[in-house]
């Protein structure tokens, strides 16, 4: 029927503006929060590098910082998907504890490394699936559901571990530890830990998913207007459940790398990490109201948090002040997001 419509004659300008965007690529780049966080990160690194070249700007410090923020960065990646739908996942820290114990028990029982990885991912996936089903299909609030799961998963981790540290890893232990503790050489003097490599690869994959997959588009649509998504036939419930599974898997993967790096599994792993993961995602530009997600933002947000901590330490400031600075950056990031939002309306 559309072919019967008369083609426009008076509005010949329409075709010529088809490819025009009100926001050019440059404008969009400049309005992206992750860009400004990157700038802040570079400034801090340059200042610290000039001021403390002997301790900050060393390959060893680079290796340590990048590995440390990779665990949080990987969790934050999963968190961006949840936040993009307008939800929140408070259970990721406890999911790490449960995953650590699950991996530890599997290795202590003598199973190979890949079995431990599979069991760990399954533990995180199941926690996420339970969250997702309760939130999407039963309809409880994400905050309360994942707060409950924060308590449940940690408690299960303590019970399963018998409240002891698991470190007598069997034959699978060596490869498992390499996953978290290994590194590749970049250039003559720098090393990138495997967790950093995994973080970069996962960030690239998730960025492509947000930009080019139907699923990524639906995640953003749900965060933008859930009712509209539902009316246009987006499988809202399924996608909402899936984002919590993604978050659970991300937390589990971070835990696997963390256990591998430290060489032992404790049930307290990841306690209060949920706050760091949420902070990293938000500093990187995720909007808690939903509808915005940036995989790169999660990476750079996590990096900023750890570089600030490291810089304060190197500057000789009492480590108890770290939380204050991280908190100030978080609040500034939200304020920046609000200002940007106001400009766009």
């Amino acid at each position: 029927m559309s072919s019967e419509l008369v083609p426009p004659t008076a509005h010949t300008s329409i075709e010529s503006v088809l490819d025009v965007q009100q926001h050019t690529a440059l404008q969009r780049l400049l309005s992206a929060q992750s860009l400004w966080v990157t700038v802040a990160l570079i400034i801090i690194c340059v200042v610290m590098g000039v001021w403390q070249p002997a301790s900050f700007a060393t390959s060893e410090n680079f290796y340590n910082i990048t590995r440390n923020f990779s665990f949080i960065g990987i969790m934050a990646l999963g968190m961006t998907a949840v936040i993009a739908t307008g939800g929140i996942d408070l259970s990721v820290g406890s999911t790490m504890g449960l995953t650590a114990v699950a991996c530890g028990l599997t290795l202590e029982a003598g199973y190979p490394w890949w079995a431990a990885v599979a069991v760990g991912l399954a533990a995180g996936g199941v926690v996420g699936l339970i969250n997702g089903i309760i939130i999407a299909y039963v309809g409880l609030s994400p905050f309360v559901t994942t707060l409950g799961m924060l308590s449940i998963a940690r408690s299960c981790a303590v019970v399963l571990s018998g409240n002891r540290m698991l470190y007598n890893f069997g034959p699978g232990g060596a490869v498992f530890k390499t996953l978290g503790a290994g590194a590749i050489n970049i250039g003559p003097s720098f090393q990138a830990s495997y967790p950093l490599v995994f973080l970069c690869v996962l960030t690239a994959i998730l960025a492509l998913v947000y930009k080019f997959s139907g699923w990524g588009r639906h995640v953003l649509a749900i965060g933008g207007n859930e009712q509209a998504a539902l009316l246009t036939g987006v499988p809202v419930k399924r996608v909402k459940a899936q984002v919590y599974v993604v978050s659970g898997l991300a937390a589990a993967f971070a835990a696997i790398l963390d256990v591998g790096w430290s060489g032992s599994a404790i049930n307290a792993l990841g306690a209060s990490y949920e706050l760091l993961a949420i902070s990293a995602a938000v500093i990187g530009g995720a909007n808690l109201m939903g509808g915005e997600a940036s995989a790169y933002g999660a990476l750079v947000g996590a990096a900023l948090i750890y570089v600030i901590r490291n810089a304060l330490l190197m500057a000789g400031i009492d480590s108890n002040w770290q939380g204050t600075f991280v908190g100030l950056f978080l609040i500034s990031a939200v304020y920046l997001g609000k200002v940007r939002g106001a400009k766009r309306e």
Partner: protein, 246 residues
């Protein structure tokens, strides 16, 4: 062959009879104004046709085929498209993303399939051009005027070969200038052979673009007349009950 035929449609919510024995026939290329006071049953009737509610009784036929919708998606598959009152748009996505929401164009082979942004933008641009709307496919809906947003919502209905377009108060929340723009969009749809049901409170809109007017009162159809043989005064009387039946 009528685009839509309703026979004895009823919808009861417990003791409340929202619709009682409503008959309606709509031809292709015909624009029908559906009017009535608040609570007269307009929204319920639209929701029954759009698949949000199953009717308690009666029969719905689309091009002579009996249909039973339990979900809006099923209605859409049979060619029933709805423009919702609040437009059901995602402000954070582009115009073209909104047009294709839920039925994106993808490329590649399963399981690696990715969105074809260029094809969607091109098709959305063509649809906006057909509607003579100066809406740019890649702009975010957040930045758009009420008229442009309406064009996005209407363009969505033209993605598939829709047999019937339901428009729920499309001019309720926009400026006077944009109302004219939207009415023009509706005329174009009708002239292209589309069957349209326009639900509206605004008498001038209905008289400007519709061929026929149906008035509901307390869940019953009290009038079904060609627009040429009635007047705003008569329709007002029918809506309020001052005139009993016409």
């Amino acid at each position: 062959m009528p685009a839509l035929e309703l026979k004895g449609i009823s919808k009861h919510f417990g003791a409340i009879h929202a619709l009682n024995d409503v008959d309606l026939t709509l031809q292709h290329g015909e624009a029908l104004g559906l009017m009535g006071d608040n609570g007269a049953g307009k929204s319920t009737l639209v929701k029954v046709i759009a698949g949000n509610f199953l009717p308690t009784g009666g029969e719905i036929r689309i091009e002579d085929e009996p249909v039973h919708f339990s979900k809006p998606v099923e209605a859409r598959k049979k060619g029933v498209e709805v423009v919702y009152q609040d437009l059901a748009l995602c402000n954070n996505l582009s115009a073209s993303a909104n047009v294709f929401l839920g039925r994106e164009i993808k490329r590649g082979l399963w399981p690696i399939r990715w969105l074809d942004h260029a094809a969607m933008a091109k098709r959305a641009g063509e649809l906006f051009a057909e509607l003579k709307s100066e809406t740019r496919p890649r702009d975010l809906v957040r930045q758009m005027s009420g008229g442009q947003r309406q064009a996005v919502a209407i363009a969505r209905t033209r993605l598939s070969a829709a047999k019937l377009v339901l428009m729920d108060e499309p001019t309720a929340a926009i400026s006077v200038r944009q109302v004219a723009e939207v009415l023009e969009l509706i005329r174009r749809l009708r002239d292209a052979g589309q069957a349209i049901i326009l639900i509206s409170h605004r008498m001038p809109d209905v008289f400007a673009v519709c061929d026929r007017v149906v008035v509901l009162r307390r869940g019953r159809k009290v009038a079904d007349k060609p627009i040429k043989s009635t007047s705003p005064e008569e329709v007002t009387g029918l809506i309020t009950g001052a005139i009993h039946v016409a």
